[in-house]
Symmetry: D2
Subunit: 349 residues, 4 copies
Amino acid sequence: MIIIMEKTATIENIKAVENILSEHGFRAILHEGDVHTVIDALGDKTTLSPDRLEAMEGVSHVKLIRQPYRLASRDRKPEDTVIEFDNGVKIGGANRPVYIVGPCSVDEDYDGLLQVATAAKEMGCQFLRGGAFKPRTSPYDFDGLGEKALQYLASAREATDLLVVTELMDSSDMDLVCDYADVIQIGARNMQNFRLLKAIGRCNKPVILKRGPANTIKEFLLAAEHIMYSGNEKVILCERGIRSFDDSFTRNLLDISAVPVIKKYSHLPIIIDPSHGTGQRYLIEPMSKAGLVAGADGIMVEVHYNPAKALSDGKQSLSIPQFREVFSKLNSLVDTLHLERKSVISNLD
Amino acid sequence: MIIIMEKTATIENIKAVENILSEHGFRAILHEGDVHTVIDALGDKTTLSPDRLEAMEGVSHVKLIRQPYRLASRDRKPEDTVIEFDNGVKIGGANRPVYIVGPCSVDEDYDGLLQVATAAKEMGCQFLRGGAFKPRTSPYDFDGLGEKALQYLASAREATDLLVVTELMDSSDMDLVCDYADVIQIGARNMQNFRLLKAIGRCNKPVILKRGPANTIKEFLLAAEHIMYSGNEKVILCERGIRSFDDSFTRNLLDISAVPVIKKYSHLPIIIDPSHGTGQRYLIEPMSKAGLVAGADGIMVEVHYNPAKALSDGKQSLSIPQFREVFSKLNSLVDTLHLERKSVISNLD
Amino acid sequence: MIIIMEKTATIENIKAVENILSEHGFRAILHEGDVHTVIDALGDKTTLSPDRLEAMEGVSHVKLIRQPYRLASRDRKPEDTVIEFDNGVKIGGANRPVYIVGPCSVDEDYDGLLQVATAAKEMGCQFLRGGAFKPRTSPYDFDGLGEKALQYLASAREATDLLVVTELMDSSDMDLVCDYADVIQIGARNMQNFRLLKAIGRCNKPVILKRGPANTIKEFLLAAEHIMYSGNEKVILCERGIRSFDDSFTRNLLDISAVPVIKKYSHLPIIIDPSHGTGQRYLIEPMSKAGLVAGADGIMVEVHYNPAKALSDGKQSLSIPQFREVFSKLNSLVDTLHLERKSVISNLD
Amino acid sequence: MIIIMEKTATIENIKAVENILSEHGFRAILHEGDVHTVIDALGDKTTLSPDRLEAMEGVSHVKLIRQPYRLASRDRKPEDTVIEFDNGVKIGGANRPVYIVGPCSVDEDYDGLLQVATAAKEMGCQFLRGGAFKPRTSPYDFDGLGEKALQYLASAREATDLLVVTELMDSSDMDLVCDYADVIQIGARNMQNFRLLKAIGRCNKPVILKRGPANTIKEFLLAAEHIMYSGNEKVILCERGIRSFDDSFTRNLLDISAVPVIKKYSHLPIIIDPSHGTGQRYLIEPMSKAGLVAGADGIMVEVHYNPAKALSDGKQSLSIPQFREVFSKLNSLVDTLHLERKSVISNLD
């Protein structure tokens, strides 16, 4: 840490900082500039929070040299994390990018869900997604079928061998959701629901952690750190669009650069969600391609057997014929570019 | 609702929209422009979601005429909501703005907490705040004392007659927190934790709902709507700063204009939190004043008996002497301007 | 236009709106809802600004049905605009994406510039870029060599046959810059310098218009509309990153989705600038690829013969060997995917 | 400056940084951490840009200790700058806040302008504002009367003794605008039109510099630095609202906290513009009050003799009766609180 003192800091202020640093086992090196005094503090930041130093009299601000996440950091683990399932499916590293598709929320029509799952299997997808519990901005909107939806997903899994991805919204549903799902999803609005992040450690299933719409990459990696720190290292990051000042053409702004940035600083797999990321059906194909060539380990796309009857997110869902058309182009891109051998860590700094 | 069709929409597309509208009891009026066909739909939006219409073929987008919140809306209830406590304290309407002060998180030093509470009482504050469960961006930071903190707050209440405000982070702590608190706080990061919003209906205590750092005013009012719809109408809104592109001088950007905007469109009380809203001690006084003259029903400020020892948010906390100095100026402002008779609903449109 | 009246609007307010509409040749259709009265106005918006209606008593707000740009709109001109140069180079439509490379600013070392230009030619680039007049945030930074830089660029053009792109910052330099450049660049900070946009009509050279860091796509297309309206239809749009709340890993947030969005709504060519768009050398390759597969008509990248000696933007510039490495990969991507036959307008809506 | 090296930096990389620092007269102090090497560089940053260091091999990033503006900084000049006019009007320091009012753009009706000016004089305003050249997002909107407008403003000045404020959009209009205006305004979209900022040094008139809608406070102060550096130290800063993710209730987000932040770090006067800052007539009163109690040295408000006929910005303009009502309340606030003795520099850090 580097502690920058106020211009008006007194000798007592500086002494007080030195004392607290020394109490916590830091080595402090003082530099007196013509305006500010600057203190280099070398030691273990987990024992003394920068916040506490910033609150001291005479301290202007504290600058960190190292990133605050550790378990998620590539510094700690240079090789890519690969998550493997019992059926041999793998996410991350030099593996072929995975596809996760399905309706935003599961509705009463099981047959429709099965049609989607069957088509998904045919097009080479590995995962079926569907919401049983849905976060909705308005209390007047449909918020999910609950356990019935989980049963439908399990039946579709049996019929197709796809793995099931579904969202956990509250720690009280933990055991129920873990019973049915192969992968637990933490939604964007819950990315900083720290109690939920802690709880997820109790379930030994891989987690898809979606980036919050207004969260920085640092906060995103720190949320992954929460899950890993509570015992579950199988975290798959998901970029799903952030909030920008322009929402007239797209619902969110899909941050493609987050993919290579995260590849550089973390070993965790990262996928993208162009459905939520743009909110527009016509953008799914170009943005999926963009994410894949930028190094994404998978894509998650909403597919519904009848988008006009979808109880949520119809506008950003593909119908089954549209899905076939778009994914045959994605398959062709992945094959042509040999993305199963992708390696995107740049040697440029 | 107004449904704007794509330039390329077919007669069948338009018919399909008309049919679904008629099925749901809407009256549809067609306008054929030279480029787009536009359909006015008059009826009850709770029976047919705009999302569903937007997903139909040939539909470009849907524009809403009325706001989607109802219970929170001033259209439904023109007079200000006033929340009254057993000890006679009132929030909202033409009442004197209230003060809510205390440490970010309650720590082991009960005596320090009591010093803050005693000073608060002397300066005319009505509420003592303090965190028992703390959301922390990093898993390595202190996350609260739990029930012990609630007991400390209860003791300080007994000693001073201040009302207690504390945060609920997870629905599983609901009964515990309700037992101790006079007012439940929903933190900014949980503003769209819809399960928590629903749960809060079970507890018959007033709620302070903090605006999410990247949430619009419409989403803020819809979150209040969730709580009200689940049975608890005693919602106090709290503006606490939003995320902007500039965080070099302030941690968040305190949106003072949210106060008069919300006063115009909702009947609920609204307070501001300049500590989180700016992250800077020196901004607490000017921003508190700004919020008060703009019509806020109260302010919430972090006060700690020793900010340099605070386990969280020290930089934005006032020490007890600083608190006395700032609040005597605020008291003088409130007295001089007779803000106890504030009425801020403008007759300009 | 659709005019939504306030709940409190009087019959006189409504009559006044109807009168002004009729004076300007609009047809007005009234809908009285149970809360709001809504007026559909059919007519030519250029004769009556929505602003003026919004200022009238009793008017809540005005919603537009059609986009406010015309010349730039794909509705008016469904086929892609292709800009052709005397030497046969073409930008836009189904043509192979172009490459525009060179130093951020031209410095005293002509030989260095020539090395860049020679390498650019060898790698298949069509354009050499370089700044003669530089906008700099701080007055203490280098702001360009002026005419000398233009002469250097012209010499490099003679030596390599590359076309020259350079920025115009002030209308007073118009004739000078037009004399030397093949393409005039309007910088991001000048995107809404409307006098400059007007002036550019006097010069019959193609224009690269960069998107302002906080400008919406609508404002971007309206800025293009300004140039087209003043007589110059050869506008090339350039997405170069927008300002977001997260600047710890990237200088700006490169909005890849702007490419397919603009392709859908406008016929103008669009290129991307991953150097400014990210500010990081290691992101140039993945983001160039992402832009290309999303449909960009070209990319603009900073290349310097010695980035560590660059007087501006060294961190985001490629050295010549790095440039060769990255662009041989881009060439391979373009060849493998046959991007010279790109056609990205989706038939999904 | 503090230079943080990459984990992978070689001894040669570090040596190269030390060499360039020593060439430019910096003293370099090396700290080898267990992960990163960090170099403290003490010297004059104007001679060596951090950009250049960041571009060097092995450098991760550079952190600045001192702010990059000097002339605008309170470090250099602790006492408030007060700008005084020939007629005795003063802006800044402990002076009574000034009022700047008038129409967004001056139109053909001189009599209407005179009515506004007369009312302004009566209510204690010191300045009449009006646009002669208007930046407009769409080329189809009214863009100003030009010199005729300047003549109208001059006539109104003669009739009322108000000082005239008008916007300069292009350096070619410099002499014309300087001839007529008492204060030159630089619009928000031109805040980083560096050629214009330089040009303004040639005119010995005070300048109102508006903050760009997406510019940080640091960039704002650097833009002021540009003007001061080119010879004109009479800069009045104006906060006029920034772009946020929420524009459904307000056009921009008026950043009230910018007032006390700038007071702390700069000696320049700062005013606010609640008309552009919110875009809503009903917010002018509460936001003016908020700005004044937070320490603003003045407010700028749009007043039109007939907002419904205004050719621009009618929705955010006050009519003359509304203006009288709002400003009599503001006068009362200023009198009651003795804001003529305002002193807002907090002694808290």
